[in-house]
């Protein structure tokens, strides 16, 4: 284990109802990473996270956090982990402060932490209201406050923006982005939307049908998302044949020409050729393949979302 790897799983497997819901997953998360754990619904994200937190026991494989085995040193590990699993849990009849106090008594951290985390998630104003009257976004923020209460080194957030409106999603995203700067925590955040973690993640792991099918830096994933050039021209089919006969590799779909090589020289060459052959060039556009489409391609759920 590299000295800066703080979470590592080996062949992590969980069988539920006779099915391998998590199947031989090897995760590696380094200190300071914001790790985006991605996968479509039912891929096994929550099941994996439950095992990382010691809530469920792996059928097979091992988990080491901070270099310690979760089976042997669960409590020592959890002392430095804050988490929010699936949807926020809370005691509806208690106020935000009382909810945090109940957890604080178990953690044994100073009382002042309650005000601190409430102000981090901007719930100070609503601190003394019963949580059952909170909006979903506020409950989610309270969940994050709870996760932060013990001043964790590792923060595990399972779909923290689930069910929120765009403004709520943005708010939570800003909140999460601001955390590492403030306290240097490592964050594992799961989502079924790449776009959601794209802007904050430094690394991504993609899980599908229980298997980890990709794990690398977000930059690598971006590099794979090279764009292409779309040209709309008069008489596209004839233009396409002309270009092919001059050795340009272009495609033709739905009346638009596409070139997957996007360097300046290639594009200039194609346009020059078209003009020379008297085709009218209406538009030359760059289309950058979204990470989303790459993600869909990898997870093989194209069209089903």
């Amino acid at each position: 284990m590299a000295s800066d790897t703080i979470l590592e799983t080996k062949d992590l497997t969980k069988r539920l109802g006779g099915k391998k819901v998590v199947d031989g997953v090897n995760l590696a998360i380094g200190r300071g990473d914001i790790y985006g754990f991605l996968g479509p619904n039912g891929a096994g994200k929550t099941t994996t996270i439950r095992m990382l937190l010691g809530l469920a026991k792996p059928t097979d494989g091992s988990i080491r956090v901070f270099g310690k085995d979760i089976r042997k040193e669960r409590i020592a590990i959890l002392r430095k982990v804050g988490s929010l699993v699936e949807y926020p849990s809370y005691y509806g009849h208690l106020t935000a402060v009382e909810n945090l106090e109940a957890i604080r008594r178990l953690l044994g951290v100073p009382k002042a932490r309650i005000d601190e985390v409430l102000s981090i998630v901007r719930l100070t104003k609503d601190a003394n209201r019963a949580v059952k009257g909170f909006s979903l976004g506020m409950k989610q923020r309270l969940g994050i406050a709870t996760a932060l209460l013990g001043d964790p080194e590792l923060l595990v957030l399972d779909e923290p923006t689930n069910g929120l409106d765009p403004a709520g999603i943005q708010e939570i995203r800003e909140l999460i982005k601001s955390l590492p700067g403030k306290s240097g925590v490592t964050i594992l955040i799961s989502s079924h939307l790449l776009s959601e973690v794209e802007q904050m993640a430094t690394r991504v792991g993609i899980i599908s049908k229980g298997k980890l099918i990709y794990e690398d830096s977000i930059q690598r994933l971006r590099d794979q998302a090279k764009g292409r050039i779309r040209l709309s021209v008069s008489e596209p089919e004839a233009a396409w044949r002309t270009l092919l006969s001059h050795g340009h590799s272009v495609g033709w779909e739905n009346g638009v020409l596409t070139a997957s090589q996007t360097d300046n020289r290639t594009v200039a060459g194609i346009v020059a050729q078209l003009v020379k052959a008297d085709y009218e060039v209406y538009r030359v556009e760059e289309e950058s393949a979204s990470l989303e489409s790459i993600f869909l391609e990898m997870t093989g759920t194209e069209g089903s979302l």
């Binding site: 959890l78 849990s89 005691y91 509806g92 009849h93």
Partner: protein, 240 residues
């Protein structure tokens, strides 16, 4: 650690009806006997020796208190576990640096303590009731009052452990509550029909047997066994 868990537990039952129930149970039992004695004052009290009246009073209170205790323990266990089930807070608590054993023990101890308070309240409430009947303060049979309050409680330990376990392990509280209600009914009719080794008879034996301490000791011992079985199951199981 268990103390920290308990202090969190007591915080969590704020603004729940639990405390009301804990007080209303013994109060209701004594109040019902108040009605009984009020209606039948001539027959039960007039012209009797204070000792006789106290005996009748304590006997009648504990006759009513026993089914109330068996029903109450099922409700209290269900309500204190329900606090976690409601918004599935188990995954919140058990992802904290606390041992699963102690979380389970916390729920059991909370339930047991609340019922202890209920049972203990029978003592001053019964004494006050006797005084309102005009029985002299000097005649209060404290030791009978105490044994009739605490022996059935201790003999009920297996049921406290069973209900705490069922309520914690099942998200749907209909099952533990049904078990609790059936248990109460069974214990009501346990009197002559069951042999002494049937646990449902123990709360009753704890006040009526020649040597009630057998029932008390058996209750505590079997209570520990049920608690241990529940604990083992809870620790092994994945958290929902």
């Amino acid at each position: 650690m268990l103390l920290r868990i308990l202090s969190a537990e007591f915080l969590k039952i704020r603004r729940k009806w639990l405390w009301v129930l804990v007080v209303a149970g013994p109060l209701g039992v004594v109040a019902l006997q108040g009605v009984n004695f009020g209606l039948r004052y001539d027959y039960l009290v007039r012209g009797k020796q204070p000792g006789e009246v106290w005996d009748a009073l304590i006997g009648d209170v504990s006759m009513l208190a026993m089914p109330a205790l068996l029903m109450g323990l099922a409700i209290v266990a269900s309500m204190s576990a329900g606090i976690e089930h409601q918004m599935n807070a188990w995954k919140l608590t058990l992802a904290l640096p606390v041992s699963k054993r102690q979380v389970f023990a916390g729920k059991f101890v909370l339930t047991a303590l609340l019922l202890l308070v209920s049972s203990a309240l029978l003592v001053p409430l019964s004494a006050a009731f006797g005084l309102t009947l005009g029985l002299g303060g000097g005649s209060i049979p404290w030791s009978d009052l105490l044994t009739d309050a605490f022996y059935p409680y201790l003999a009920s330990m297996p049921f406290i452990a069973l209900q705490a376990w069922l309520s914690v392990t099942m998200a749907n509280q209909a099952v533990p509550l049904t078990v609790g209600i059936i248990g109460m009914i069974v214990s009501l009719f346990a009197g002559a029909r069951f042999p002494d080794w049937v646990p449902y008879k123990w709360p009753q034996l704890a006040v009526s047997a020649n040597d009630p301490l057998y029932a008390v000791a058996a209750g505590v011992a079997f209570g520990i066994v049920v608690f241990a079985v529940g604990l083992t199951e809870f620790v092994r199981k994945d958290v929902k």
